[in-house]
C-alpha cells in the first residue's frame, strides 16, 4: 500500500528541493513565512512545557516536531474556513489566528481561553477522540447549503482512526460531497500504543479508498508539502468535489502530555538521535543555506520578536482577572432554569460573594 500512497515531499531532509514542478513556490518569502510561524509555535510550545514544570499552568500537551504539519495546513486555509482541532493542534490554531494568551489561559484551566479566537472560526480543542470529525462535516454541509465557498478542516491523530466517529464523519461527508479536509497527523503513537497495534493497514491514507475519496500521504515534516496537499484538498472541496483524507506522517519528539513519560513505551534516545535530522524547522534552515537565502540577522530579529510576544502573552495570562465561579452556572443555557439559578445562589451565599 505504501507504493500506492507514496509519501509526498517537496523538500527532503537534507534541504534539497526535490520537486521540479513546485520549485517556483519555494520562494524566499514563503520560506520566511513558514519559518516564522514554525519558530513561533516552537517558542510557544516550549514555554508551555516550562510553565507547566514551574506550576504556573496545568497539564500541557506539547506538539514539538509537528510544527511543519500544523503550520503548513493552517496557512492553507482561507479567512472564513472552519478549523476543528484536537488538544494537540493548538499550534495549528495559533498559526491560523488563535490568540496566544487565550491558549495559555486554556492550559491554566480557564474557560475564557477555550475559544481560541474571537474572529477566526476555530473550535475549542476536541478532547473526546474523533468526535469532532462529524462537526466538520456538518459545518461544511451548512456552508454548502448557504452557497458559500468556505470549507472545514478537522485535525486528528492516528489513534482517532480507530474510533467510530472517524468513519461516520468521513462517510457522511463523502456521501454529501461536503467541503471538508480530514487532516490526520500520524505520529505513530496514541499515548503509548504504537500504530501497529492501532490498525492492520499499512497507511492511513489508504482508508480513503473505502469512502471513494482521495487519500494523500505526505511528509508531515515538510511544511511545503503539507501546505500543497492541504491547499489542493481545499481547492477540490471548494469546487464541490467533496472531502479528502490527508495523512501527514510526523514525529512527536516529546511526551503525549506533561503527565506522560514516553521512555516507558518507546526508545526516547533514538528520537533524540534523529531529531535534528528530521526537524521541520532545521529542514527549512538547510533550504535557506543551500539556496543562498540564509539571513542570520533576520532570524535573530524574528526570534527576539517572538520571545517578546510570548512573554507578553504569559503576562496577560497571569494578570487575567480571577476566575468567576458564577461562570459555571451562567452559560449552561441561554437563560438559567430555576435549578441552576438556585444552585448558583447557594454557592455564592456560601462563598460570601
Amino acid at each position: 500500500m505504501k507504493d500506492k500512497f507514496p509519501l509526498m515531499q517537496l523538500i527532503d531532509q537534507a534541504g534539497n528541493i526535490v520537486s521540479e514542478e513546485y520549485k517556483s513556490d519555494i520562494t524566499e518569502e514563503n520560506i520566511k513565512k513558514f519559518y516564522y510561524h514554525m519558530l513561533r509555535l516552537r517558542t510557544y510550545d516550549r514555554r508551555g512545557r516550562a510553565l507547566q514544570r514551574q506550576g504556573r499552568i496545568g497539564t500541557y500537551v506539547p506538539f514539538e516536531g509537528q510544527e511543519g504539519a500544523q503550520v503548513g495546513s493552517a496557512l492553507a486555509l482561507d479567512e472564513k474556513d472552519w478549523m476543528f482541532p484536537t488538544y494537540r493542534d493548538h499550534g495549528a490554531a495559533l498559526a491560523f489566528g488563535a490568540e496566544l494568551h487565550r491558549l495559555f489561559l486554556y492550559w491554566s484551566g480557564r474557560v475564557e481561553g477555550a475559544v481560541p479566537s474571537l474572529t477566526k472560526r476555530i473550535l475549542p480543542a476536541s478532547v473526546p477522540i474523533a468526535t469532532h470529525l462529524p462537526h466538520a462535516t456538518g459545518a461544511a454541509m451548512a456552508d454548502m447549503y448557504k452557497g458559500t465557498k468556505n470549507a472545514s478542516i478537522a485535525y486528528f491523530g492516528d489513534g482517532a482512526t480507530s474510533e467510530g466517529d472517524f468513519h461516520e464523519g468521513i462517510n457522511i461527508a463523502s456521501v454529501f460531497k461536503a467541503p471538508v479536509v480530514f487532516f490526520n497527523q500520524n505520529n505513530g503513537y496514541a499515548i503509548s500504543v504504537p500504530i501497529e497495534k492501532q490498525m492492520n493497514s499499512e497507511t492511513i491514507a489508504q482508508k480513503a479508498v473505502s469512502y471513494g475519496i482521495p487519500g494523500v500521504r505526505v511528509d508531515g515534516m515538510d511544511v511545503f508539502a503539507v501546505h500543497l496537499a492541504v491547499k489542493e484538498a481545499l481547492d477540490r472541496a471548494r469546487r464541490g468535489d467533496g472531502p479528502t483524507l490527508i495523512e501527514a506522517v510526523v514525529i512527536r519528539f516529546g511526551a503525549h502530555t506533561t503527565a506522560d513519560d514516553p521512555t516507558k513505551y518507546r526508545d526516547q534516545e533514538k528520537i533524540e538521535q534523529i531529531r535534528d535530522e528530521v526537524d521541520p524547522i532545521l529542514r527549512l534552515e538547510r533550504v535557506m543555506k543551500n539556496n543562498g537565502m540564509w539571513d542570520g540577522a533576520w532570524i535573530n530579529q524574528t526570534r527576539k520578536e517572538i520571545e517578546t510576544e510570548v512573554n507578553e502573552a504569559v503576562e496577560q495570562m497571569e494578570d487575567f482577572d480571577k476566575p468567576n465561579p458564577a461562570d459555571m452556572f451562567d452559560y449552561v443555557f441561554e437563560k438559567a432554569p430555576w435549578t441552576i439559578q438556585k444552585q448558583k445562589e447557594t454557592l455564592l451565599r456560601r462563598s460570601g460573594s
Binding site: 472552519w82 474557560v111 475564557e112 477555550a114 475559544v115 474571537l118 473550535l123 475549542p124 478532547v127 473526546p128 468526535t131 469532532h132 470529525l133 462529524p134 462537526h135 466538520a136 462535516t137 456538518g138 459545518a139 461544511a140 454541509m141 451548512a142 456552508d143 447549503y145 448557504k146 472545514s152 467510530g164 466517529d165 468513519h167 461516520e168 464523519g169 462517510n171 457522511i172 456521501v175 454529501f176 461562570d327 459555571m328 452559560y331 449552561v332 443555557f333 441561554e334 432554569p337 430555576w338 435549578t339 441552576i340
Partner: protein, 341 residues
C-alpha cells in the same frame, strides 16, 4: 387588523383547526417551521423518500427538497455530530432518531458536545438543535425499540427534555423546541402517535417549555405523569371518582427543567402524591419529583409519596411488555394506598 378608509377594523381571526393525532401534529409542526425559517432542516434515517418509519415527515422532502429534508446514512453519532456542525454554522437542525433505543451511539456526541458547547465557550458558540425520538413500550415493537431513557438526559446538564402527551402540545412544544436557543430532546410517545385526536390550530403557536398543565383537577391526591402515562393516570383517576376519590392529574410535559411550581401548588392542595412513569424506577425522573416535593411541600404531606414505574429491568420483549408498563390498575392501587394511608 386591516386598514380600510382610514378606519381601523378589527378583523376576527378565524383560526383554522384540524383534528390531528400526535403524529400529524408533529408533521404539522415540522412543516410550519420548514416553511417559516430556511435555516431549519431535518436529518435522519428514512425521513426523506420514505417519510419516516412513523410518517412524521411524510411528503416533507417532496415539498421542501432534499437539501432541507435529508436522508442520512445509518449513523446516529454521525448525523447528530453533523447537526452539531450545522448548528455551529447558523442552521437549526432537527434530527430524528428512529427509536429512542437507537440513541445510544449518539450519547457521546450529546454528552460531550451537544450539551456542553455553550458552557465551554461562555456562550460564544451555541447549538439550537432538536433531537426528536419516539420512545416507550406498549406497541409490540421488537427488542430495543421500547426504551424510556429520559433520565439519562435529564441528568445531563445542558439539554432540555420535553415530552408531549397530546396533539396540541406536540405541535406547540415542537415549535418551541425548534425556536429554543439551546438543544432540546423531544420525546414522542410512540403509543399515542395514532391515538386520540385533538383540535390543532393550523397556524404557528408555541407551548412553553418548562410548564406542566392540569389534565384533571382534584382535591385528594396529585398524580404526576407525562407522555404515554398521562392517559393511564387519567383512566385510573376517572375510575376512582366512583369510589369517591378525587385525583388531580398533572401532565408535566417538560422533564428538564421540571415545573416545580405546579408540583408544589398541587401537592400543597391535596397533601398526597403519586408519580407514574414507564422508565425504570431507580434514578428515574420520579425521584426528582419526590425531591421537589420534599423541598417545597414536606409539611403538607399526609402520606408517603408513591411511585408507579417500570421495573429495574431491561424493557422485556413484547409478549410480556404489558406487565412491565404501568397500568391503570397499578396506578389505581397506588392512589388508593396513598389516600387510605
Amino acid at each position: 387588523m386591516v386598514m380600510t378608509d382610514n378606519r381601523i377594523t378589527v378583523q376576527k381571526k378565524t383560526t383554522k383547526q384540524n383534528k390531528y393525532n400526535v403524529i400529524q401534529a408533529i408533521k404539522d409542526g415540522l412543516k410550519t417551521m420548514l416553511a417559516e425559517d430556511e435555516n431549519v432542516l431535518l436529518l435522519g434515517e428514512d425521513i426523506g423518500v420514505n417519510g419516516g418509519v412513523f410518517r412524521a415527515t411524510e411528503g416533507l422532502q417532496k415539498e421542501f427538497g432534499e437539501k432541507r429534508v435529508i436522508d442520512t446514512p445509518l449513523s446516529e453519532a454521525g448525523f447528530v455530530g453533523t447537526a452539531v456542525g450545522m448548528a455551529l454554522n447558523g442552521l437549526r437542525p432537527v434530527v430524528e432518531i428512529q427509536f429512542l433505543g437507537f440513541i445510544y451511539p449518539a450519547y457521546e456526541q450529546i454528552a460531550t458536545h451537544v450539551s456542553r458547547m455553550r458552557s465551554r465557550t461562555l456562550g460564544f458558540y451555541s447549538l439550537p438543535m432538536v433531537i426528536r425520538a419516539p420512545y416507550g413500550a406498549g406497541v409490540g415493537a421488537p427488542e430495543i425499540h421500547s426504551d424510556s431513557a429520559e433520565a439519562l438526559f435529564t441528568h445531563m446538564p445542558g439539554i432540555k427534555v420535553v415530552c408531549p402527551s397530546n396533539a396540541y402540545d406536540a405541535k406547540g412544544l415542537l415549535i418551541a423546541s425548534i425556536e429554543d436557543p439551546d438543544p432540546v430532546l423531544f420525546l414522542e410517545p410512540m403509543r399515542l402517535y395514532r391515538g386520540t385526536r385533538k383540535e390543532v390550530p393550523s397556524e404557528k403557536y408555541t407551548v412553553e417549555i418548562g410548564k406542566g398543565t392540569y389534565v384533571k383537577e382534584g382535591k385528594d391526591v396529585s398524580v404526576f405523569a407525562w407522555g404515554a402515562m398521562v392517559p393511564v393516570a387519567e383512566k385510573a383517576a376517572q375510575a376512582l371518582e366512583a369510589e369517591g376519590i378525587s385525583s388531580e392529574v398533572i401532565d408535566l410535559r417538560t422533564l428538564y427543567p421540571l415545573d416545580k411550581d405546579i408540583i408544589a401548588e398541587s401537592v400543597q392542595k391535596t397533601g398526597r402524591a403519586v408519580i407514574v412513569h414507564e422508565a425504570h424506577e431507580t434514578g428515574g425522573v420520579g425521584s426528582e419529583i419526590t425531591s421537589i416535593i420534599n423541598d417545597t411541600s414536606f409539611l403538607y404531606l399526609k402520606s408517603p409519596i408513591k411511585r408507579v414505574t417500570g421495573f429495574d429491568v431491561p424493557v422485556p420483549l413484547f409478549s410480556i411488555e404489558h406487565d412491565y408498563v404501568p397500568t391503570p390498575e397499578r396506578v389505581k392501587a397506588a392512589i388508593k394506598n396513598s389516600v387510605e394511608f
